[in-house]
């Protein structure tokens, strides 16, 4: 699924989106719905998948779940920042874990949403991130 070096984005106006969550079902359905709304979505089912994906390709926005099995979302966030990526990062947090979200913001994330979130909220947030 995750595309390698060849990036189909050069003359594509679509927003290049990276979805990172260890819940495959969630990633898949969200990807479907966003594709249908004209986003170019790349799926990553774990932190390491995500890191592999950003090495081969550029993205405009990443949607990052903070609670994952293999690697903590904040860890992934730190690695992205160390790699000097320019893409905006929107975090998804569980209810009541505002501390992690706040920490993510100080680490340079764009914003956060509490999960589960309404689709139109997410789309709005992504568009905000692109405009910024």
């Amino acid at each position: 699924m995750n595309g390698k070096t060849t990036a189909p984005h050069t003359n594509d106006a679509r927003i290049r989106l990276l979805l990172i969550d260890d819940e495959e079902g969630y990633v898949n359905v969200l990807a479907n719905r966003l594709e249908k709304r004209h986003f170019h979505v790349t799926k990553a089912y774990s932190g390491s998948d995500a890191i592999r994906a950003v090495r081969g390709q550029d993205f405009d926005v990443a949607v990052l779940d903070l609670k994952m099995e293999d690697m903590d979302g904040l860890e992934v966030l730190k690695i992205f920042k160390q790699m000097g990526l320019e893409m905006k990062i929107i975090m998804l947090t569980g209810h009541g874990s505002q501390e992690a979200a706040t920490e993510g913001l100080t680490l340079g994330a764009f914003d956060y949403l509490t999960k589960p979130c309404e689709l139109h909220d997410l789309i709005e947030k992504i568009q905000q991130a692109c405009r910024a």
Binding site: V29, R33, K67, G94, G96, P116
Partner: protein, 562 residues
């Protein structure tokens, strides 16, 4: 049942303490009193006996001296004068005069008796000239000796007296110079001897006859006098001290000394009770001290033990209460953690379901489905899935806020302000339910340091519960605050409704997590348990009083920091 078991334990504890304290304090008391009393007893008895024996010895000596003196006087008279001159009554009268003037009337009369018993001459108050003494015991005895003192006897004159006689030998002829000793004068030597209240003295001869005027209780010889003679003979002592019963059965102390070359006994007799009266008084004092001291100790022991046990009991109760609180808090915390875990786990599948439904909705918008007769029904079902998903989300949110408080920053707040604010928020809802909220807030409450948002959550929960309870009936909610009288240093908030109340069976469980009586889908059963957790964390207390049909009354105590 539990209370019974405990009070039994405390009763046996107090008995242990009381008995130990009594044993510890009585043992030395008894020992001290006993040892002192014994020592006093021994030394006092020794002293009394020593005193008594000294007295009897001295008097025996005095009496002996008296007798030998009288004998010596008589002997002098007999030596200095010839039989002839003595036989002359005139001369004899002169001699008697001399003796009487010199020895204060101790000599009653004088007589000269020849060896056949005929009284040759007599001087004295009686008409006894030419009387014959040939058959008199004293005469027979005196004839054998140079000097003789008789026992007391009544004789010819009819009242007690005794005779002192001296034998004079001159030109082959024996005569006796005889004098009668005034019994009163002699008796006074003994009668003056008084000891204590019951002590007196008397003299007995070998036959047990009184040689002095007998004491009142004796008419004839005292029985058992042989005992004294035997005792004196056995010890070879001139005196003994002994303690024995007399005829009337009372214990007496006897001091005995032999007199007149072992012919008489001087006996001093005193009742033991009298002799040792000081000892008895001492014993009585000791007993009184013991009783008073004992009562004081008993009262002290009882009082202090009761106080001590009461204090231990209170401490135990406090400890138990603390333990229970710790357990309760621990239970709440672990439930909270569990709930948070579950909420997180449920969040993801719910999110997926909702999104999948959304995806179906997306697909249904495509043209190929636009003609479907069931399209509307599909959309309705999807909407329903979405709604239920949102409900799940609400539940998990509540669970999570039970586990961790959203904003637990504390600050100094005025409780009445928070209440007024919350009542304001709820008023719309209250109006809708036909419920009036009355406030009765004490205006001068001190500031308390709590998290205002937590307090709001608690109040909102309680008011919402009351509103829900009175949904159909309408009614009144009364909210009051004041300084607690039951719990010093606390503010108490009372929220009282007049709704249907809480059945007794549910009262104990209302603060348990997931306990709810609301219809399925309306309540999570977490509201009150969140309140409980919050108030507990504030160091306060929450309780509920209710009965079916009488409304519910929640009381919250919040400590005031000093």
């Amino acid at each position: 049942m539990i209370k019974d078991k405990y009070s039994k334990y405390y009763r046996s504890l107090s008995w242990n303490l009381i008995l130990t304290a009594i044993a510890v304090s009585f043992t030395p008391l008894i020992m001290v009193i006993g040892v002192l009393l014994y020592q006093f007893n021994v030394s006092y008895q020794e002293k009394t006996q020593a005193h008594l024996s000294e007295l009897v010895q001295k008097h025996a000596q005095n009496i002996d001296t008296f007798l030998t003196e009288k004998l010596a006087n008589l002997r002098q008279t007999s030596v200095n004068n010839s039989i002839e001159s003595l036989s002359n009554s005139e001369v004899l009268r002169e001699k008697l005069q001399n003796l009487r003037s010199e020895y204060s009337n101790v000599f009653v009369d004088l007589g000269v008796v020849d060896d056949r018993g005929m009284q040759l001459a007599y001087a004295g108050p009686y008409e006894l000239k030419n009387v014959t003494y040939a058959d008199a015991d004293w005469f027979k005895a005196a004839l054998q000796l140079d000097m003789y003192i008789s026992d007391v006897f009544t004789g010819l004159r009819g009242h007690p007296h005794f005779i002192v006689a001296v034998k004079k030998h001159e030109s082959g002829r024996n005569i006796l110079l005889r004098a009668t000793i005034d019994f009163k004068a002699f008796n006074s030597l003994v009668q003056n001897l008084k000891i204590g209240k019951t002590g007196y003295a008397y003299i007995l001869n070998r036959k047990g006859e009184f040689q002095t005027s007998p004491p009142l209780e004796y008419k004839a010889s005292p029985t058992g006098y042989e005992f004294f003679w035997n005792a004196v003979a056995k010890t070879k002592n001139t005196f003994i001290i002994t303690q024995r019963k007399d005829e009337s059965g009372t214990e007496n102390l006897y001091a005995v000394a032999s007199l007149k070359d072992g012919q008489w006994l001087l006996i001093v007799k005193q009742q033991v009770k009298d002799a040792f009266s000081d000892l008895n008084r001492m014993q009585n004092i000791a007993v009184i001290i013991f009783i008073i001291g004992g009562i004081a100790i008993l009262m002290m022991v009882y009082y202090t033990t009761r106080r001590m046990v009461r204090r231990i009991r209170r401490a135990d109760k406090e400890k138990e209460f603390m333990n229970q609180q710790v357990i309760e808090t621990g239970k709440m915390a672990s439930i909270g953690e569990l709930a948070a875990g579950i909420a997180h786990e449920i969040n993801n599948p719910v999110a997926i379901m909702v999104e999948e439904a959304g995806w179906i909705g997306d697909l249904l918008e495509e043209e190929e489905f636009a003609q479907s007769s069931n399209l509307e029904e599909f959309n309705r079902a999807l909407k329903q899935i979405n709604t239920q998903g949102r409900r799940c989300k609400e539940i998990t949110h509540k669970l999570l806020s039970f586990a961790r408080k959203t904003d637990s920053t504390v600050k100094d707040v005025q409780l009445n302000e928070i209440i007024t604010e919350i009542v304001g928020i709820s008023s719309q809802m209250a109006k809708y339910n036909k419920v009036t909220i009355e406030m009765n807030l004490q205006p001068t409450l001190p500031y308390i340091t709590i998290s205002p948002s937590e307090m709001q959550q608690v109040l909102l929960n309680l008011i919402n519960n009351a509103l829900d309870a009175m949904e159909k009936t309408g009614g009144t909610i009364q909210i009051s605050t004041k300084i607690s009288e039951i719990e010093p240093g606390h503010i108490v908030i009372i929220i009282q409704d007049d709704g249907p109340g809480i059945p007794e069976a549910n009262l104990a469980r209302v603060f348990d997590p997931f306990f709810t009586t609301k219809p399925v889908g309306k309540g999570t059963g977490l509201g009150l348990s969140i309140c409980y957790g919050i108030i507990n964390k504030m160091g306060g207390k929450i309780d509920v009083q209710s009965a079916s049909g009488q409304g519910a009354r929640f009381r919250i105590w919040i400590p005031v920091q000093k």
